[in-house]
């Protein structure tokens, strides 16, 4: 029953959404160049199914690679800022300032710095746009650790590393996964920024750009749906990981 609800409700919601969309386009008699309807999307997917698979793979692996680097670097920055007040005071304004730069403006900068290294540029952008929330949440998680937790282990003679492993790390996991959910979506934005602003014949962003050039509006909408699909898949992978590693933070419903 619970399983049925968990699957049936979201699926019904999606179906209702598609029907409303179809009805809206039909009711307004919008032509395809204004807004494509869901029934136009299947032919587009079918026609370009090979491209969707290979470009989708480009987008996916570069997003995941950027995200992985963001996790490593973001956690590193978070640990530096979480453990050292000097580091926090020094790094925080720099990171906030960097995060405030609209990343679209960085795309041409990076493209000029590393001409032709398209994969690297794309991964780099996915990383740059997504590491900030991870760094902030890890640093907050670590710096708000109640001193009693530390005292309990310290009074037993535990080393700093043991305190980190047994307390700081697991206690920060819920915040980390919360940030990771945001970072997943951001990483996709980063990948697509490069693919659309500096098209290089790879990725769903490029397919979107081709759709734009050839005025194939159903294709453009189909790309959006494909991106949404990939985003959902990655997001729920994070949700599953969160359940496994930080499920304790979820209070039982009473």
């Amino acid at each position: 029953m619970d399983m049925v609800r968990k699957i049936a409700i979201p699926l019904t919601a999606i179906a209702v959404f598609l029907l409303l969309w179809e009805w809206l386009v039909w009711f307004n008699q919008w032509p395809n160049y204004k807004m494509a309807s869901p029934s136009d999307l299947w032919p587009a997917f079918w026609k370009f199914k090979g491209l969707f698979l290979s470009y989708g793979w480009d987008t996916l692996w570069r997003t995941v690679a950027g995200l992985m680097i963001a996790i490593v670097v973001g956690t590193g920055f978070g640990m530096l800022m979480g453990f050292s007040k000097i580091m926090r005071e020094g790094l925080y304004p720099l990171l906030v300032g960097f995060n405030a730069i609209p990343k679209a403006t960085l795309v041409p900068v990076i493209a000029l710095m590393f001409i032709g290294a398209d994969d690297m540029n794309t991964v780099l952008m996915a990383f740059l746009i997504s590491f900030f929330p991870i760094a902030v949440s890890v640093s907050i998680g670590l710096s708000t650790l109640e001193p009693e937790y530390r005292d309990i282990l310290k009074s037993l003679g535990a080393s700093r590393f043991v305190i980190f492993k047994k307390i700081a790390l697991p206690k920060t996991l819920p915040e980390f996964f919360g940030a990771l959910k945001v970072a997943v979506t951001l990483a996709f934005i980063g990948t697509n920024l490069v693919e659309i602003i500096e098209p290089h014949g790879k990725g769903l962003g490029f397919l979107f750009d081709s759709g734009k050039i050839s005025a194939d509006y159903p294709l453009m909408f189909a790309v959006l749906i494909a991106l949404a699909f990939l985003g959902i898949v990655l997001y729920y992978i994070v949700v599953v990981l969160e359940k496994i590693f930080a499920g304790w933070a979820e209070r039982a419903e009473t």
Binding site: E146, L156, W248
Partner: protein, 267 residues
């Protein structure tokens, strides 16, 4: 050596460095806790009681004087100490059993994992937590969490137990339950206790000796011997003898508070 002192605080003076200069919290403090006895330290709030627990645990060094455990001067944390605070600070991601097992993962010991679990389970059943060992702390009531915290403080058989207002956040009836559990634990296990508390009845019911600290900077102002024997019931708190002791403690604390108010006026 029946009267050997397990905890010996001698001439301890300590100040915190603040922006406005040093803030003295303890001044020439002397407290002795005999082996396997229970001393309750009471005093006005903010008089440096928690500083005292950190000094005994070896988390801090005093500016002057010395803290000895079993005759040995404390320079760093000792694994022969167990601690419990007002906040039970259980690790939310671990089951109750695994929380209790935590000290055994850190303190060097030769126990097999089966022996560790047996040890933890025997303590859990002693405090009435049998059957909830696999639950997470968030599923337990405040009193149960504090009981688990006591088990964790004792699982590695520490010689010294430091309690910093352990029952302060509990309601009156739960607190009385915990007092009785404390007596049950003392009957089964051998440890020397120093407890910080605000609750005078708690100190009379649990302790062999009550020490009243003066206002900041704190020094031992008055020591009360609680000669109620080892078998105590809650009714014993309402005998003339207990009421006299409570009144005496109350009066000494008022004197201590008066002193600390005067110090504040001066500054």
């Amino acid at each position: 050596m029946a009267l050997e002192n397990q905890i010996e605080i001698k001439g301890v003076t300590h100040a915190y460095q603040t922006d406005e200069g040093p803030l003295p919290v303890l001044e020439d403090l002397n407290i002795s806790v005999p082996l396997n006895s229970f001393v309750a330290v009471v005093g006005p709030s903010g008089c440096g009681k928690s500083t005292l627990t950190r000094l005994i645990a070896g988390l801090m060094m005093p500016d002057e004087g010395e803290v000895r455990l079993h005759g040995e001067i404390i320079k760093s944390p000792k694994s022969t100490v167990g601690m419990a605070f007002q906040n039970p600070v259980l690790l939310e991601w671990r089951s109750i059993l695994k929380n209790v097992l935590l000290p055994l993962e850190i303190v060097p010991n030769k126990l097999t994992s089966k022996e560790r679990i047996e040890r933890a389970m025997s303590l859990l059943s002693l405090v009435g937590l049998e059957g909830v060992e696999d639950k997470r702390p968030s599923e337990l009531s405040g009193g149960m969490r504090q009981r688990a915290s006591l088990c964790r403080a004792l699982v590695h058989r520490p010689e010294v137990l430091i309690l910093d207002e352990p029952f302060g956040a509990l309601d009156a009836f739960t607190r009385e339950d915990l007092w009785q559990i404390m007596h049950a634990l003392r009957k089964e296990e051998a440890f020397t206790t120093l407890m910080i508390t605000h609750d005078l009845r708690e100190s009379v019911f649990l302790a062999d000796q009550g020490v009243v600290l003066s206002g900041r900077p704190a020094t031992a102002q008055y020591t009360l011997d609680v000669d109620l024997g080892h078998e105590r019931t809650l009714e014993d708190l309402y005998t003339d003898q207990s009421v006299t002791m409570l009144a005496k403690l109350r009066r000494e604390i008022q004197i201590a508070q008066g002193r600390s108010e005067k110090t504040e006026e001066r500054s």
